[in-house]
């Protein structure tokens, strides 16, 4: 049962998954999600934090509509309800780069753009991502870090209204990662974007997000929320270590 429901002007990302169980090829049944429910307000930046294998990617896949075999429901924020075929307003950075191996970096990025943006100037984006000299390479010719950056370029270039990111900065060196985090914030704040990012890095979560959703071990459910109300330009090293301390107080034993 997929039922549509008229939506108002400001719609949160609302997730209400009762259960998601996989059945492996060998017959093992694995419950990945159970009673997982949370909300992200439209225009907010939220992080999903949880142990490896708890069900974060599964959650994103459900929200992206790639997995329909679950019980429960969800609702995407505004920007999704545009009719099929119009501007793509959802973007995702998958946990693995998932670039088309038979297309160059530039082609991979441009193909993901709606027709109207296909010819847009991408020089700035490629420069910031350190991909300027790599536009004509095929994915197999990239290092993993470069491939991840190409996947980020693809997501950022689409100017999305809803953005899902699955550990986008893993296997990047700290300096590059830092630069890309700033780029992400720029893209996010340039227009009203609702973002949900999976990360294992608490510092990253505290620096970027309005709300951190902490997940428990598999089957994933919400352990608790941690709201960071502070505007991002106030989050200096001192504030960050305070935030980190209060996070650890609230969630001892996490991260």
């Amino acid at each position: 049962m997929n039922d549509m429901q008229p939506v108002g002007a400001v719609v949160p990302l609302r997730v209400d998954i009762a259960e998601k169980t996989f059945r492996s090829a060998q017959g093992v049944s694995i419950t990945a999600l159970q009673d997982l429910s949370f909300e992200v307000r439209q225009g907010e930046f939220a992080c999903l934090l949880g142990p490896s294998g708890c069900g974060k990617t599964t959650t994103l896949r459900i929200l992206l509509g790639l997995d329909k075999d679950f019980s429960g429901s969800f609702q995407l924020p505004e920007g999704g309800q545009l009719p099929e075929g119009s501007l793509s307003r959802i973007a995702a950075v998958f946990q693995e780069p998932t670039l088309l191996p038979w297309r160059t970096v530039e082609q991979n990025v441009r193909l993901a753009l709606p027709k109207s943006l296909r010819t847009k100037n991408l020089d700035g984006l490629f420069d910031t991502l350190g991909l300027a000299g790599m536009r004509s390479l095929y994915p197999a010719e990239l290092s993993l870090g470069l491939a991840r950056r190409a996947a980020l370029a693809r997501a950022f270039a689409t100017e999305p209204a809803v953005l899902f990111l699955d550990e986008p900065f893993a296997s990047l060196d700290e300096q590059t990662a830092e630069r890309l985090r700033h780029l992400l914030l720029t893209v996010w704040s340039a227009r009203p974007t609702t973002a949900l990012m999976v990360t294992h890095n608490l510092r990253e979560a505290l620096m970027l997000s309005d709300r951190i959703i902490v997940l428990a071990q598999r089957p994933a459910h919400v352990l608790g929320m941690f709201d960071v109300r502070l505007p991002r330009h106030y989050r200096n090293p001192q504030v960050m270590s305070d935030l980190s301390r209060s996070f650890h107080q609230k969630f001892p034993g996490v991260a």
Binding site: N2, V7, I62, K68, F70, F74, Q75, L76, G80
Partner: protein, 273 residues
């Protein structure tokens, strides 16, 4: 035309999980319904365009029963199946080895690719006649000729398979010093499986068709022998009876052997065959 499991999302709307699958027919029932449908279609067509050249299923069934009762059917079918099986094994083994070798070694491929094109395009007739003339009118010549006809097709398919191999698995195997047998069994064959499946299925069919020609040109039994006799008499019902007897054997093999094996071999895929 694209893969189906990437259905529409329902963004900006409430989506509810648990996609409702309609009652799924069991495989056996599906096959039964499928064959029944085919028979009905055939019966209908035969009624609509009545012609000596297009008998209905009932007529063919009569002939089939008669030929089966006389024992002819099983004798000729047995002879043909034996030839098909022998030629198949030879062609698949030789063709796969050559194909994988050519797909793996660029320079060998460059040298031999004109030969492959040549052998691929030599008419069955020529090979069969030469084989009979050189090696005599015997079973070995017949089976050899069929295998030679089919080998280039296997080579071409397996060569594509070898070219499409993912080198990272071979590299992993090299680092962990997999033995030759392990490499073949655990690294090579699983990657080549779809190509093997394609080469096998269309292979059996091609081999059977060439066996028909081989039997026409120099055997004294077999389905091909019978089919051509009945062609001289323009007895299409008998031709179809023999054809369908062979197809039935292939269907049984497909459903009871090939498909289960295939499902087992591809169960690791997110959507197994």
């Amino acid at each position: 035309m694209s893969a189906p499991d990437t259905g529409d999302r329902t963004p900006g709307a409430v989506a509810d999980g648990q996609s409702s699958f309609a009652t799924v027919l069991t495989p056996a029932l599906t096959v039964a319904v499928s064959l029944l449908g085919l028979c009905l279609l055939w019966g209908f067509a035969a009624n609509a365009w009545p012609s000596r050249a297009f008998p209905g299923p009932g007529q063919v069934w009569q002939v089939l029963l008669a030929e089966a009762a006389s024992g002819d059917l099983f004798y000729h079918l047995g002879a043909t199946l034996g030839r098909v099986a022998a030629a198949y094994v030879i062609a698949m083994v030789v063709g796969s080895v050559i194909g994988v070798a050519l797909g793996s070694y660029r320079s060998a491929d460059r040298f031999f690719s004109p030969w492959v094109i040549l052998f691929l395009n030599i008419p069955a007739l020529v090979v069969i006649v030469l084989a009979y003339i050189w090696f005599g009118l015997n079973e070995a010549a017949a089976i050899g000729a069929v295998a030679v006809n089919k080998i280039p097709n296997v080579v071409v398919t397996m060569r594509e398979g070898a070219r499409a191999l993912d080198p990272s698995y071979a590299e992993m195997a090299a680092v962990y010093r997999f033995g030759l047998l392990d490499r073949i069994r655990h690294v090579l064959l699983p990657q080549l499986q779809p190509y093997l499946a394609a080469a096998s299925r269309s292979g059996i069919a091609l081999i059977w068709k060439i066996v028909l020609v081989v039997e026409l040109l120099g055997r004294s039994n077999g389905v091909g022998f019978q089919i051509y006799l009945y062609f001289q008499l323009f007895d299409v019902a008998a031709i179809l009876a023999y054809t369908l007897a062979f197809v039935a054997v292939m269907l049984v093999i497909e459903l009871l052997l090939v498909q289960p094996v295939e499902r087992h071999a591809t169960r690791w895929r997110r959507r197994p065959a």
